[in-house]
Amino acid sequence: MRRLPKDSPSSEITPEPLFWRRREFMKNAGLIGGTALVTGGSLQWLVGKSPPPDAPDTPPLPIAQLPSVAQHGQYDTAEPLNSFKDVSTYNNYYEFGLDKGDPSDNASGLRTRPWTITVEGEVANPQVIDIDTLLQWFPLEERIYRMRCVEAWSMVVPWLGFQLSDLVKRLEPTAKAKFIEFTTLFDPKQMPGQRFPVLEWPYVEGLRLDEALSPLTMMVVGLYGKMLPNQNGAPLRLVVPWKYGFKGIKSIVKIRFTEQQPRTSWALAAPDEYGFYANVNPAVDHPRWSQATERRIGELQRRKTLPFNGYGEWVADLYAGMDPRRLY
């Protein structure tokens, strides 16, 4: 039925065939649009990722004196820093999810106070240390280190912390202690990633005692002059700049001195891919990808990976006489 008013001038009347064609066109356009919406929507849901969250607003460290920042100590790199946003929104922390954006999305529920660190094993002074007590023990120091992930990307990060060697000396390991083992918090309520058996939880990492005593090895409590964001391992984490990033265990609740080499998480999960030493070595490929080059976050082209991540002059001696191929 034509619904046009009778008195329309004939030029405005849509001729019937055209009218039907238009109707069909509209119908088709609707169907095409609908199909596109459903296809595109579900596709985007499957493959797309939402943009990274903003950098967190971390409070300053709850200590009276801010670090007496030694301006560019001998271990600091002069390379440009990665932004606070990159460092705090792109990292691996499987306790909060497998995607590199997940830690910053999911770590806000982690309660880092009260927090204690249990010290046990081959040590003269086994004890439970409150994190705020620990923060008073040593002056904090900023260290600008390269961080090389085993996945072949890297960053330059201004960490804030103290040398692990200072802590070890204060705790007085016994003569039997050959290794130091660290354990992350286990609490699937706060760490949703622990609900899935992706790795054996809790995460365990370790060092040989002489590695722990290297002046480069840091216990880190801050980042960019402020408190460490949860997603980066608050309130206390390890940083070992000449090793792949997964050695840098986060949110530490236990330190144990041992005679035996600790059974570390990644070495347990995939022994042929991740070893105990995990020293950065461009000559030893990961079985599934090359370690010869890396992408510095923020740069377009890959750069060459350096042996010991460029820290060889200070740490290569630790491995004198060992087969470097066993040191991955």
């Binding site: 095409i32 596109a36 595109g40 499987y94 590199k100 999960a269 599934r288 976050i297 890959r302």
Partner: protein, 221 residues
Amino acid sequence: MAVATEAEPRPAPPARRRGSAPYGWLKPGILLGAFVPVASMVQRAASGGLGANPIAEVENELGLAALIFLVAATACTPFRRLFGWTWPVRIRRELGLIAFFYALTHFLTYLVLDQFFDWGAIAADILKRPFITVGFTALVLLTPLAITSTNSWVKRLGFKRWQRLHWLLYPAVALAAVHFIWRVKADIRQPLTYALILAALLAVRLVLYLRKRYAAGETLS
């Protein structure tokens, strides 16, 4: 490019009014939707929304889109046989070509943005790293299918040979699933989901094929 079972050289279609073909809206709709991820990536690239490692992000999203379209293309024949729907086979070629587009751009991202034409590293990757070896093989297998996806190629090869060639879809899609599984570090839930869907589709396909052969054998004897 997917395996066709009913693409016998058809008589020229009767002159129909444009747009009135049944499901005439389906192909353009899917084509439009298929490029939503590309549009989204371009938009996020411009606004810094791809995160700290945009190259890896783009590479991964393109690879996943390729796999999804490969699985979708594989699903067409089983869906028609199981449910009697005809519309999936109408879009099979389109799905296959979109999959190829994504696989190719995924590879080009790897070649240009990730490795920056470092041929030595690329050759080492392809030869030495099983996950890349299988991904590359999948792409190589898909290439002749994309090239011969036109009607004139069906004629040129003859339907039987063309069909046999397009069976290559199955090894290609299986290798793509393996590529994904081998790539992840610890959590294989997501790649395993795709692999299981694919295994189910391939199982249906195999059963249908064996039944057909069996039936053909019966009539022969």
